[in-house]
């Protein structure tokens, strides 16, 4: 107790004796922190302010309405919210297994000479501009999705609502695949780092017990890394829900809610991107801004959920986690 007091006192006195450097440092650090907060607050304020006409007219009906009709000036964003979340989930369902598999390969299985170039190549995927991926999606992926993917799924599993409906290629499924390609690099990179951070003592202990490689990975490495992997998944989800250009080009941009992955859908980001420039009256713009606000709220909720989820799943004892 005494010791602590003395220590603080010394620090305080020393801070007093070096006021300029200390104050400057403190100012810069506080300034950067506060500036970021201020930007955030200003952004939310601007969005909320811009959305006011739409909020005044539709209230919470904006979130539950299913009609988006710029001619009759009726705006309901439910199909957009639905499309945003569903296409991202499809993307994650495809991306997570691939990413985790790749990450395990890179951290535990790949020969040393391959690890670096392979990681590098995967990170390069993240550098592909989204519009290029979109064009590729439109001209290469969509025809493949139409035939054979939709043909096979529809002919054999068409009784499941997920796989019925028109086989245009464009739609939630194509959007999900494009999103998967876009989020694989980030989920892979984060997962790989997490696997590399798993102490070797964990693996060695399992090996000492006579475990096979599969047993080591499934029982020692993955459980240890679980919370981190969830974090990686959420990061990918965060990236996916905000993705705009590539999704717009392949999702079919239809304002409807359908269980089928073959149907065209629409996302908040793609609706804003495609309609903002020709939104010719104030209420229309306000509706698009409000949709942006909704998108922001969704990412916030997902982040909070992620925190909660990670919190409940961290069961690894603190002593081991060192």
């Amino acid at each position: 107790m005494n010791l602590k007091l003395v220590a603080t006192d010394t620090v305080a006195r020393r801070a007093g004796s070096l006021p300029i450097g200390d104050w400057l440092f403190r100012g810069v650090v506080y300034g950067s922190g506060l500036a970021l907060l201020a930007v955030m607050v200003a952004m939310v304020y601007e969005l909320a302010d811009g959305a006011r006409p739409s909020f005044a007219k539709f209230g919470f009906g904006f979130l539950t309405g299913t009609t988006w009709d710029p001619v009759k000036e009726v705006f309901g964003a439910l199909p957009l919210v639905y499309g945003t979340i569903v296409s991202s989930i499809v993307g994650l369902v495809i991306a997570v297994p691939i990413s985790i598999g790749t990450a395990i390969f890179l951290s535990d299985l790949a020969p040393a000479w391959l690890r670096r170039p392979a990681s590098y190549l995967i990170e390069i995927i993240a550098a592909i501009p989204s519009v290029i991926l979109g064009l590729w999606g439109l001209f290469v992926l969509v025809p493949i999705v139409r035939d054979p993917i939709q043909k096979l799924l529809g002919d054999n599993l068409g009784f499941i609502p997920l796989f019925e409906g028109p086989r245009f290629g464009l739609g939630v499924l194509s959007a999900g695949i494009i999103l998967a390609i876009m989020v694989v690099p980030i989920i892979t990179a984060v997962s790989r780092d997490i696997f590399l951070a798993v102490p070797n003592s964990q693996r060695e202990a399992m090996i000492a017990l006579g475990a096979t490689r599969w047993e080591v990975i499934s029982q020692a490495v993955i459980p240890y890394a679980r919370s981190g992997l969830i974090g990686a998944g959420i990061l990918g989800f965060g990236r996916a829900i905000g993705e705009t250009m590539a999704v717009t080009m392949v999702i079919g941009n239809g304002f409807k809610i359908s269980p089928s992955l073959f149907e065209p859908s629409h996302t908040i980001a793609s609706a804003i991107a495609s309609e903002f420039s020709e939104a010719t009256y104030d209420l229309y713009i306000a509706a698009l801004v409000e949709a942006g606000l909704v998108l922001m709220a969704i990412s916030l909720i997902i982040n909070i959920l992620a925190r909660v989820l990670v919190g409940t799943l961290v069961r690894v004892p603190a002593t081991v986690r060192e």
Binding site: K72, L138, P264, S274, E275, E278
Partner: protein, 394 residues
């Protein structure tokens, strides 16, 4: 040790400072000289000092303004952008006027001219009453000047059926876009296409997902030929589509139609040509089936009365030689120009564009103004006022 080093560095650097300053000063002087040189050149052009260029007269007016500004800004419609770029490039060389046109979409163009952040706006649609009121409140009376017109091809993908081999009329097209006709061998389509082997295939309706002037013209046409379309969807830069898949931009729609057997879509003529897409012959109001040619597009605006304010949608034209899905694209400008120098430059640029500039239209797949439209456009440009005098001057 350290102190010695520091002072050594200081001594070493100090003598160089005056030298650096001298060099910098010399550079700045040079730069200034270069700039003022440039200024002299451009003002010489703009002031209309006698040169071969200014001898060029258009319907009695010189191409370049006397005492006009050397820079103009505009923003708006993307549809005429390739043509405007050509205008800007050629007129810039002719009269040393730098024009910056941002193709941000008609909606953005209307907003910017209303906020008076640009000297002229570009729009593929007519201002609504509310928009016109807002603009009038901001800068007084605003007017539409048609610069060119364009048409939209109804493109399709049916193996074995080539360009111009399919015939459609307005009500049938509306029914397809309403989702009431879903098969290519529907009796309604078959009735218009005797002798054509129509497949028993689903129609994949493709439309634009982004707000666009193209959609405005297309839906305006559908509204004119189908009361059901008018009440259900109406016309605007984007509408609540009853059926179909949305594709981004003309290139997106063209890409989809090219790939997807059974697809139908609408694109600007240039995109249909570039992508080698099959298009349908459309039945016009007089009952003639026509290809979307530039001549047939220009005809849309002849034989019909062009109102003095040029606010006319020329879809479903009554002219028997007119292709029915066509539209003007307009420049929006305030009648009373706030800046005399800019007003002069703008008036002369627009005058040049509706006369000499029209020769660039065809090569870029735009339809030149018809004689009637040109007359109306001339009258509009003459109305531009710089103070108490017209901006356009001999």
């Amino acid at each position: 040790m350290k102190q010695i080093e520091r002072s050594a560095i200081r001594k070493w650097h100090l003598p160089f400072l005056p030298g650096a300053a001298l060099v910098a000063a010399a550079l700045i002087t040079l730069l200034l000289a270069a700039c003022s040189d440039d200024d002299n050149k451009s003002s010489a052009g703009a002031n209309g000092t006698p040169s071969s260029v200014d001898a060029n007269t258009l319907a009695g007016y010189p191409a370049c303004a006397t005492g006009g500004a050397s820079a103009l800004t505009g923003a708006g419609a993307t549809f005429p952008f390739p043509l405007y770029s050509k205008f800007i490039d050629d007129y810039g060389k002719l009269c040393s006027v730098q024009i910056n046109y941002q193709s941000i979409g008609s909606g953005g163009g209307i907003r910017q001219i209303t906020e008076k952040t640009v000297d002229f706006g570009g729009s593929d649609g007519i201002l609504t009453d509310a928009q016109e009121q807002a603009a009038t409140a901001a800068g007084g009376s605003i007017m539409h000047i048609a610069m060119t017109s364009g048409s939209e091809a109804v493109v399709f993908n049916l193996p074995g059926i080539n360009r111009s081999q399919l015939k459609l009329d307005g009500p049938t097209l509306a029914d397809i876009y309403l989702g009431k006709i879903t098969k290519w061998n529907d009796p309604k389509i078959a009735a218009l296409n005797q002798g054509v082997n129509l497949p028993n295939a689903d129609i994949a309706v493709v439309h634009r997902s982004d707000g666009s002037g193209t959609t405005f013209i297309f839906t305006n046409y559908l509204s004119k030929v189908s009361t059901e379309w008018e009440s259900k969807a109406g016309f605007a830069t984007s509408v609540n589509w009853p059926v179909g898949i949305g594709a981004q931009g003309n290139e997106g729609v063209a890409g989809q139609v090219r790939q997807l057997p059974g697809a139908i879509g609408y694109v600007e003529l240039a995109y249909a040509k570039q992508n080698n897409l099959a298009w349908a012959q459309m039945k016009n109001k007089a009952g003639t089936y026509l290809d979307p040619t530039l001549e047939a597009t220009t005809e849309s605006a002849s034989g019909v009365t062009i109102p003095a304010d040029m606010k006319i949608l020329i879809t479903d034209s009554a002219n028997a030689k007119a292709y029915p899905i066509a539209g003007f694209t307009w420049v929006l400008a305030y009648v009373n120009q706030p800046d005399t120098a800019k007003g002069k430059a703008l008036a002369h640029f627009l005058w040049w564009a509706i006369h000499d500039g029209q020769k660039f239209a065809t090569a870029l797949d735009y339809a030149p103004l018809s004689p009637d439209s040109l007359k109306a456009a001339e009258a509009q440009v003459m109305k531009l006022m710089c103070g108490s005098a017209p901006c356009l001057a001999k």
